[in-house]
Amino acid sequence: MTWVNAVVQGIMLGGLYALFACGLSLMFGVMKVINLAHGDLAVVAAYLALGVVTVTHVPTVWSFVLVVPIFAGVGYLVQRTLIQAALNRGVLTTLLVTFGLSVVIENALQQFLSANSRSLSIGSLVSDSFSIGQITIAYLDLVILVVAVVVLLGLQYFLSSSRNGRLIRAVADDREAAQLSGVNYRHVFGVAAAIAFATVALAGLAFGMYTQFDPTTGTDQLLLYAFEAVVIGGLGSLWGTLAGGILLGVAQQIGAQIHASDQLLAGQLLFLIILVLRPQGITSRRELA
């Protein structure tokens, strides 16, 4: 029964990882940019929520109302300035610039907000749970999973049905052709980055409520989790990302069941196995970009 429990907890955790992964996947799919500062952005969002709660005294859960739009705006600006400038130099420059950004963010957080661990306190909600048989499910975990699914559904609907979504897909498929049809691809890139930043902010808030974070959490854990979920699930498929996140979460929980110190290793070994056996991911049929 402990194994079944591990799988269930892993599925819950998978929602969180999918939430982290979808922004990374979107930016790679549209702009061919792998944002190495992705994890740090999530941590910044969590710190920002702490600040918002301190200033406005709203309940922590509602801090997303401010944090997510701010991040969307910042995402648009960062894309239009820094990342676009790097893109003009070539894809490798985007790696160098986002890596530099990651180091700057991590050290700035340590400088101004100390290296101490923090968490977003949500009172008793963090421990409230219900049981089905011997399996206990925390409400928070379930809410995060539901939020992840809703976000992915919303993103799917946005990309397939809205005007901006169609523009994003057009630019992702063939930038030159889209430009010839009069699309300002830089603006479209900005919109995609805004969405990616908004989702990573949401993921950062969820992570901050789920567990403790500190300035190094972004690079030590979150970036790698997000990337692993994307690769396991396969590029270009939002549902693949959800599946990838869930598989990663299940692998980690099963690893933790074997030995507490095996949790991270199990997830990363699954990633390497998928990379060797099925580099295009479990759901995608496309060749690896």
Binding site: L36, L82, T94, V97, G100, L264, V276
Partner: protein
């Protein structure tokens, strides 16, 4: 780095008489200029002076230089990997950490850390071959983060091995010399590895493979289309960089005398390599040398400022990558035409002595 490439440029004045309507013997191809001769002589004299230093200065000075050379080795290897083969890795700390722990393992079997460096270097290349099998299909960002994951896996595995000290770290065995002698030995070995590493990179880039590498640096697709064996060249470079970083890891272990997994596998090793290379000038041998000097001076002056130092360095690296992608050395070399490590070719009109005349064509003149 295709967008910054400048494979060939006409140097000076109007287009010279067409080369094609003269017999081939009327042009001359050279690789060196006098600045190179000078640079070579200065380098040899410099290394001789550096080798004599332990007799002249306190060990605190030589141990500072140890750190300098360590940075130089790592940055030169990363430059070879990213600047020439187009492989941006954020996981070179995997080889640093493994190199450091190999020294410990060999030391447990009675081998002196100094004697184990060649073995560790070869072991680094062998491990590199295994990792290459994992990552060779991946491109750009995928390659970068997968290397990071691999480094993280290496660290998590080492932490589990209790005989290697687990997460708390372990003292490097076999460093039994007196402190003074140990410091001098460490310095000499570090100097030797540095000279060998730079010389190896220089010879590699001057060889036939170097031509392919420079072509890949400038335009990977183009290089493939003219028949450069891109993947096998990239593999060779990956292995050289793996071996070089493992040797650097061995030196790190000897220098530190006590290693901890989280420090030995820290991504900040790679951050140092990247920032040094970008600021100095990516895709040139001279760039990492200049970059290391700048980085080292900054480190010594700002080290008390802790995190500020990384914030400043990160911002400068971002700015250089976007607005001056060829770094300090690139700006200097463009203005003066000086090359200390010539890996390109100069084409001269017949009969011209090099003094005072302009070459017809500079190939790979970065």
């Amino acid at each position: 780095m295709s967008s910054v490439g400048q494979q060939a440029e006409w140097a000076g004045g109007p287009v010279p008489p067409a080369v094609t309507d003269q017999e081939p013997a009327s042009v001359r191809v050279t690789r060196s200029r006098r600045s190179v001769l000078w640079a070579g002589m200065v380098a040899i004299a410099g290394v001789a002076v550096l080798a004599y230093l332990p007799y002249l200065v306190y060990s605190s000075t030589t141990s500072l230089l140890d750190q300098f050379f360590l940075l130089l080795i790592m940055a030169s290897m990363w430059n070879l990997l990213a600047g020439y083969a187009g492989l941006v890795s954020v996981g070179q700390q995997a080889f640093i950490g493994l190199g450091a722990y190999f020294v410990v393992i060999l030391g447990m079997h009675g081998l002196s850390p100094f004697a184990s460096i060649p073995i560790v270097t070869v072991a680094g290349a062998v491990i590199g071959l295994v990792f290459w099998w994992l990552v060779s299909r991946l491109r750009s960002g995928y390659f970068a983060i997968t290397m990071w994951v691999i480094a993280s896996v290496c660290m998590l595995v080492i932490i589990q091995v209790s005989s290697l000290g687990g997460g708390t770290g372990i003292a490097v065995p076999g460093l039994t010399q007196s402190p003074k002698l140990l410091s001098a030995y460490t310095y000499w070995v570090t100097l030797v590895v540095t000279v060998v590493a730079i010389a190896a990179i220089y010879l590699l880039l001057r060889s036939r493979l170097g031509l392919a590498l420079t072509a890949i640096r400038d335009d990977e697709t183009g290089a493939r289309s003219v028949g450069a064996r891109v993947s096998s060249v990239q593999r060779l470079v990956f292995l050289v960089a793996a071996a070089g970083c493992a040797a650097a890891g061995a030196l790190y272990a000897i220098d530190q005398q006590f290693i901890v997994p989280t420090a030995a596998f820290s991504v900040y090793f790679t951050a140092e390599m990247i920032f040094i290379t970008i600021i100095g000038g990516i895709g040139t041998i001279e760039g990492p040398i200049i970059g290391t000097v700048v980085f080292f001076v900054l480190q010594q002056t700002l080290s008390s400022a802790g995190t500020w130092y990384w914030i400043v360095l990160g911002l400068v690296a971002i700015a250089v990558a976007i607005w001056a992608p060829r770094g300090i050395w690139g700006l200097f070399a463009d203005r003066t035409g000086v090359r200390l490590f010539p890996v390109g070719y100069w084409l001269w009109p017949a009969g011209a002595d090099q003094r005072g005349s302009n070459p017809l064509l500079r190939l790979i003149g970065r």
